[in-house]
Amino acid sequence: MAEFLTDSAIFLPVLLRGLYTTILLTLCALVVSVLLGLVWATMARSRFIGLRAATAAIINVVRGIPIIVQLFCVYFVLPEIGINLYPFAAGVIGLGLAYSVYQAENFRAGFEAVDPALLEAAQSLGMDDRLVMRRVVLPLGIRIALPPFGNTAVMLLKDSSIASTITIAELTRAGQLLAISTFKNGTVYVLIALLYLAASLPLAAAVRLLERRMASR
């Protein structure tokens, strides 16, 4: 135990830098996934069948490919067609895209759960489809989508560890390097597990707080 503590004191600064990158990566990918997810969910409600079909295709393709493969595609394949990305940017884009389909599903379910009687009230005021979307469906649907959004955010935090495979020095990769060079696998991975936990609990709590603030009115 004493050894664990002294080792921890040495390892923690390195791991905390990794954790910082993990959190940054997660938040950036979260923003990308939410924006893309909103686009997919809005397109899925379009009155144009072509747009709806395209959305369904995008969602099925993205959902059907493992996240690690998507990251490799962004990181290794894009440079071949002349698009060079920093590993961090590739991670944000890859994770953001992969998670956008889960966000889209959350938002779609939220939009559909908005009481149709409220849409009729809005239409009766003379609102067109876009205005109904912006003034009624979006604000109410997002509230309904918040609890599953919280789950998705925590999953994204954990899956950000996949970005270790494209050389991003986030928590998992920082830990791997440390473990290889010190042979203290046990200590390192326990610390990594604790740090992921330490990050995911506040994230879940933050979403719950947001939920409560929005529900109170």
Partner: protein
């Protein structure tokens, strides 16, 4: 003001409207009566395009109902709903100014000043900043009427505006509707409140099975109906036991 000519409407195999015709003059108050499922709500919803008739003509405020005229028609007639349908994420005042600001593109300050006047007129001025969930049904419906008035409509459609209210709350809503009628607002009201129809409406239309069975001057028709079906319906509504 409003003219409905021989409209038909079916939901699948269910033929809900089978040739309905009537007209409403500006300033008239018309009550639509009839048993459940007779098509009253469907007729009302055809007047602001929430439903579109399969055949026949609907003219509202000088416009033929079509895709092109839909938004103009919706701006010229307001609707008040049985279950109020207030926007739960907006305050009472925000509900009232939602249409003026975002659809009519009125100036926010002016719209809010007028919104507060309208809330005062329905006795809800002191609740302007509350959310709808904190109001009773009668209070919500009064806000619903203020929201309808805020669009400066040529006519207001009411679909059973008091059916979801506690009995002791019905009067406060009917009172407001009566005052609108006295000011010359055109009202089309689906209701089971026979006393209101008799005293406030100019004309009554009785529907059954998707057709108009009888229409005429409200007081005369509701006191002494000509058709047996109308008489039977009134008996049942007025003496349920």
């Amino acid at each position: 003001m409003i003219a409905v000519e021989n409209i038909h409407k079916a939901f699948g195999a269910n033929r809900v409207l089978r040739g309905v015709s009537f007209a409403v003059e500006a300033g008239e108050v018309v009550c639509l009566l009839g048993p459940s499922g007779s098509g009253k709500s469907t007729v009302l919803r055809c007047l602001n395009g929430l439903e579109r008739a399969d055949s026949g003509r609907v003219r509202v405020a000088g416009r033929e109902m079509s895709d092109a005229s839909l938004s103009a028609i919706r701006r010229s007639v307001s609707m008040v709903f049985q279950r109020f349908n207030l926007f739960p994420h907006r305050t009472v005042l925000q509900n009232v100014v939602e249409g003026p600001i975002h659809v009519l593109r009125e100036d926010r300050t002016e719209a809010e000043a007028r919104g507060r006047d309208l809330l005062a007129r329905v006795g809800m001025a002191d609740r302007a900043d509350d959310y709808p969930a904190r109001l009773s049904g009668g209070q919500q419906q009064r806000v619903g009427i203020a929201r309808a008035l805020a669009m400066r409509p040529d006519a207001i459609l009411f679909d059973e505006p008091t059916s979801a209210l506690d009995p002791e709350r019905v009067g406060e809503v009917l009172q407001i509707m009566r005052s609108l009628a006295e000011e010359g607002m055109t009202l089309i009201v689906v209701t089971h409140e026979i006393a209101f129809a008799r005293e406030v409406a100019d004309r009554a239309i009785f529907m059954d099975g998707g057709t108009v069975v009888e229409q005429g001057a409200a007081r005369a028709m509701l006191t002494d109906p000509q058709e047996d079906r109308t008489r039977l319906f009134l008996d049942r509504v007025l003496r349920p036991l």
